[in-house]
Amino acid sequence: MTPDLIYGLTGIAVFGIGLVGALCALDRLRRVLALKLCSVGAGFLLVVGAWRAPPGVPDPVPHALVITGIVVMVSATAVALALIRRLQTLEAEDER
């Protein structure tokens, strides 16, 4: 087992855990967190793709991709959280 394979499989596993959570979790917040896990898993995979055996220099392209991915995910998370808050307010209003 080479390190990159281990990293890669970990990435896939993390993505899988996130996927299960996103599909099965009932709580809204948990589902957002599960989606975050998915993105971390995908990021893992890309970073592994950049890795080269020591004399080699890591490929910079995937790093750039991961950074972009993180930025995208941050904004997506922000929107999701804002929606959840809004929904909670609306529900609280309806109950009153």
Binding site: L23, R31, A42, L45, V61, V72, A80, I84
Partner: protein, 485 residues
Amino acid sequence: MSVDLSPITLAIFVPLFGAIMAFLLPRAASVIGLATLALTTGAVIWLARAVLTGGAVVLPLGGWGAPLGIDLRADGLSVAMLGLTCAVGFLVSVAALDSLKGAQQARQRQYFWPLWLLLLTGMNGVYLGTDIFNLYVMIEVIALAAVGLTVLSGSRAAVQAGLEYMYASILGALLFLMGVGFIYLQLGRLDFAGLTGAEPTGALIAALALMFVGLALKTALFPLHFWLPAAHANATAPASALLSGLVVKAALYIVLRLAQYMPFPSETLLTLVGLMGAGAVIWGGIQALRAERLKLLVAWSTVAQIGLIFVAFARAGEVGLPESWKAAALLILAHGIAKAAMFLAAGRIKDEIGHDVIRDLDRSPIRPTLAQFTFALAAISLIGLPPSLGFIGKWSLMEGAMAAGYWHWVAVTMAGTLMSVAYFSRVFAGFLRFDRVRAPVGEHQGWALADAAPLTLALAAIGLGLLAAPILGFIEIGYPFGVAP
């Protein structure tokens, strides 16, 4: 770095700039919005002329060029999609001017324009992109803007539906991203050209499967359609029109492109795609028959129609793909125009008579005649009755399936057609008033300038059927299916 003024860059950066301006200057948002749309449409026309005279146009962004840099590329199919987006978008914008003019809609008006222009940026980016990571970013942009539009009305149902849509959309995008990662691991490249001719290894097939599932989730292909009906039915009318007419098409378009550049792994998978489409046609039809509200019915019809597009895609198996994509593209265009018209008309009907319960449509003392007429015209195209564009699409679907001896796809299409007749005729019966309400009726109440945009769209959906031959000729420009560009 030189700033090269190309219609391709304009088509992406004009809406982006417009979105920012509309956000910063909310008072002038609608003016900015319309101006942006007009400019973008101008850029697309410019681009269309260039493509028409000189074939596909490629623009290496910043002069870098693939594989390191990002190429933007416009061929017949992408320009057709851009044209669909701009034309439908422009008319929906005009309709939005009217439907968002109320005093209590100030907040909606403030956010509608930036979100919609951002959405336009994302979609134009998808249609011009040639790099799958770029596509990932663009579909995320689309997702965020589209969710924003879904929850625009601020009602609890809309926010709930929007949140579900958000989850589905992010998950879809992340599945796509995972596929992108796999592909990079395998090939070390992310541009379309780099995908061409790659050996279909296990990892690549897994990547393709991941990306397909992600896109199916975004385009709401059965059985991953669960989020769509609520989201599209609860949004405000112009938002519904954009979501149903345009947004789902972006993911569909990526599926077409992937099938163009990556070898489709096997006949069985293609059949599976067709079966999912068939499931959508049947299930969407059944649900539309049961829907109690007009907008929900229209939303379920979108599910069924998306399914039909996938059936068109799979209609003649792997050998038929170089022809089948054209049938799918025709159906995409037809559905985009007709569904936007139908959602706008449904919104108008709801505005005029105050509700959209199908059973009580004929009990209202007000007759939004023109909106009803528009709805009927749009339905003609969606059902696929001649001479509409929808008919031409359906005709090429069935013709190809029949010629290849794939009778089951013909049967599915026919069943879908019958069901669409059945569910739309529920609405038609509600349109014909039979004096069940003995109220003084102003004969042609409910005509308004707001009907102009949806009516134009509906007439286009029917009339473009007559121009099917030139449209088909156009989308083939610079698009040698299965051959490296």
